[in-house]
Symmetry: C2
Subunit: 358 residues, 2 copies
Amino acid sequence: MSRGNGGADADLPGGRRPARPTSRDVADRAGVSQATVSLVLRDRWHGRVSPARAEYVREAARALGYRPNLAARTLRLGQRRTALLVVPALTTEFFARVHSGAARMAAEHDIGVVLYPSPGGVGPAPDPFASASATVDGVIASSMAAEALAGLRDGGLPLVMLDSEPGLAPAVATVNPDISDGMRQICSHLLELGHRDFGHLAAAVDTWTFHARARVLAEALARSGSARLVTTERAALTVRDATSAAERALRANPRPTALVCDDDVLAAGACKAARRMGLRVPQDVSVTGIDDLVLAAAVEPELTTVRLPAEEMGSAGLAALLSVLGGREAGNTLLPVELVRRGSTAPPPGNGGVPPGP
Amino acid sequence: MSRGNGGADADLPGGRRPARPTSRDVADRAGVSQATVSLVLRDRWHGRVSPARAEYVREAARALGYRPNLAARTLRLGQRRTALLVVPALTTEFFARVHSGAARMAAEHDIGVVLYPSPGGVGPAPDPFASASATVDGVIASSMAAEALAGLRDGGLPLVMLDSEPGLAPAVATVNPDISDGMRQICSHLLELGHRDFGHLAAAVDTWTFHARARVLAEALARSGSARLVTTERAALTVRDATSAAERALRANPRPTALVCDDDVLAAGACKAARRMGLRVPQDVSVTGIDDLVLAAAVEPELTTVRLPAEEMGSAGLAALLSVLGGREAGNTLLPVELVRRGSTAPPPGNGGVPPGP
DNA sequence: GCAGGATAGTAGTACGTATAACCTCGGCGA
DNA sequence: TCGCCGAGGTTATACGTACTACTATCCTGC
């Protein structure tokens, strides 16, 4: 079923390329000029080419399996419609979803998305933009891709930042989930359940979002009047590190009855730590996450968490980039989040129950 | 396209396009011809341009922030060095890792990777290759991206299949993890622990890999002589579906003491089902997964699983594609896997941890 | 002093596409 | 009869790069 290649013509190593048909080949076959082919195939022929001929050209293109050479097209138009997405590690479910959203939006606008996975692995970590930026006309970057950010300034490219403070640089658009609202919803939920002693399992990532989470948590608790933040521990975003950090947090005195985690992975580690210490979740300690990864519904108990709109961050990021490329002001987008109540939160152990031990 | 505010932003000089410098701009600045710039920057100048001038050109390029236009370059060279990666859903951690591996390998060979996330979402599901294939010269596709595979035949492009049966089509290269070895290792592990009654929680995906998993499991159990497959249930790759399917499997008579799952997500669901039925993992029932996702170490107990080399599948896929593009025979790559023993497997109840004697 | 080579650089062109500018040819009202 | 118009094309050109000729200059040995 594959295109009838002559068989022997394509096996020269490093030599001849498959020689895809060009618009001129189509023109020859249809007996028209190359310009006509372009007009027809770009749907710009109305009132300039007769319908019969247009159909004939399309037929010829189909027969030859013609696909326009995008490189040539973009060269002519001068529009290198490609966005570079810089994320810390695509191996993470969250950023995979961000990319998915960006890619879908990009497909609708017929532009490409190239990924620059920041150099987590080995290797010489080549200049991120030496190769990629050659065809890129805009960058969407997560603030968590710290290593790559230095090079962004020099690029002189339109920039959209994800998870970054709005308004820092006038020319930089930002896209953020409404993490303040999310934190507030978590706090309200836990306060309504009757919790007073809170712990914070924070991500050991030096990023605005995570700073904001800590700040909003503190503010919300302060505003409640009754609640207080008993302990704060920081952990890398791995289950293993989260577990030991959570153990430290749960050894605080008084022991927090609610552990607010910056992330679902941290929350999973926290549950693990609690169990290891003989505490039940949620009866003895409530745990909350953020993100709503697949993992959140897989662990036992299922995590109460805040669902961040990862896909929407990607699509909104791309939309913001298009907006900037279109000459408009760089805006700041805030996306709504949603509290998902599941099994890892409950009222704190009652006064008549087991008192917190030393 | 909104040009918008009339004289407000006067900082855009001349036309309104960003106007990235071209090699001719560099030439003007350096006082040489465009050809010289190209020679110098492509490192083809030895013995043709004086070292002093070459350095001067490089200096000018640096000062202007010049980046060669890759579109123009590939147009001239006629080499569209771009691979298309077709995966079922990038939102999945596994395929995110596959992409990561492919991207790293691609970067080393200075070629691009474009993702085609098969249309899981809404929308008209446009021709996958209408836009992408324009610049693509090879395709790496997972057999799990079923919807997109139909279009691949017509493309006439070199094709590398992931998770697909080797040798089906002569021109198609394949890359697979050694799933047979993985299944055998799981079986050996469980047989050594003393299990006899096995259950299989299979993925409801009509793909060669998953068929192979079932076949190899059956063969391994048959060869053991003592063990048998008590039940097989199929589930979609979600925790929710896996849970109900696992409940059915655990209600089989006799109840399996070991539940072999096609996937970590399924295994997480199985653990959940067991607990819901009052069974302890691993004391009452052992559960195994495949993949070794982050999730595998997050659930309680941590999953015994087979780690599939996702990144290597990506890089090997790209290597295979390069090989085919280079004119060599389409080969079949088999990548080693590794059994990861964790907490979800133990001797079956009533065996006391003593391996079965004669 | 001059052939001949090494050195240093430039002019010109091709790649495949999109589109502005131009051309041709009937029909038609004056 | 002419001038004009619009439909239905075509010709020519630009996009930015890579590289093949080609020219021009400077040595160097005989």
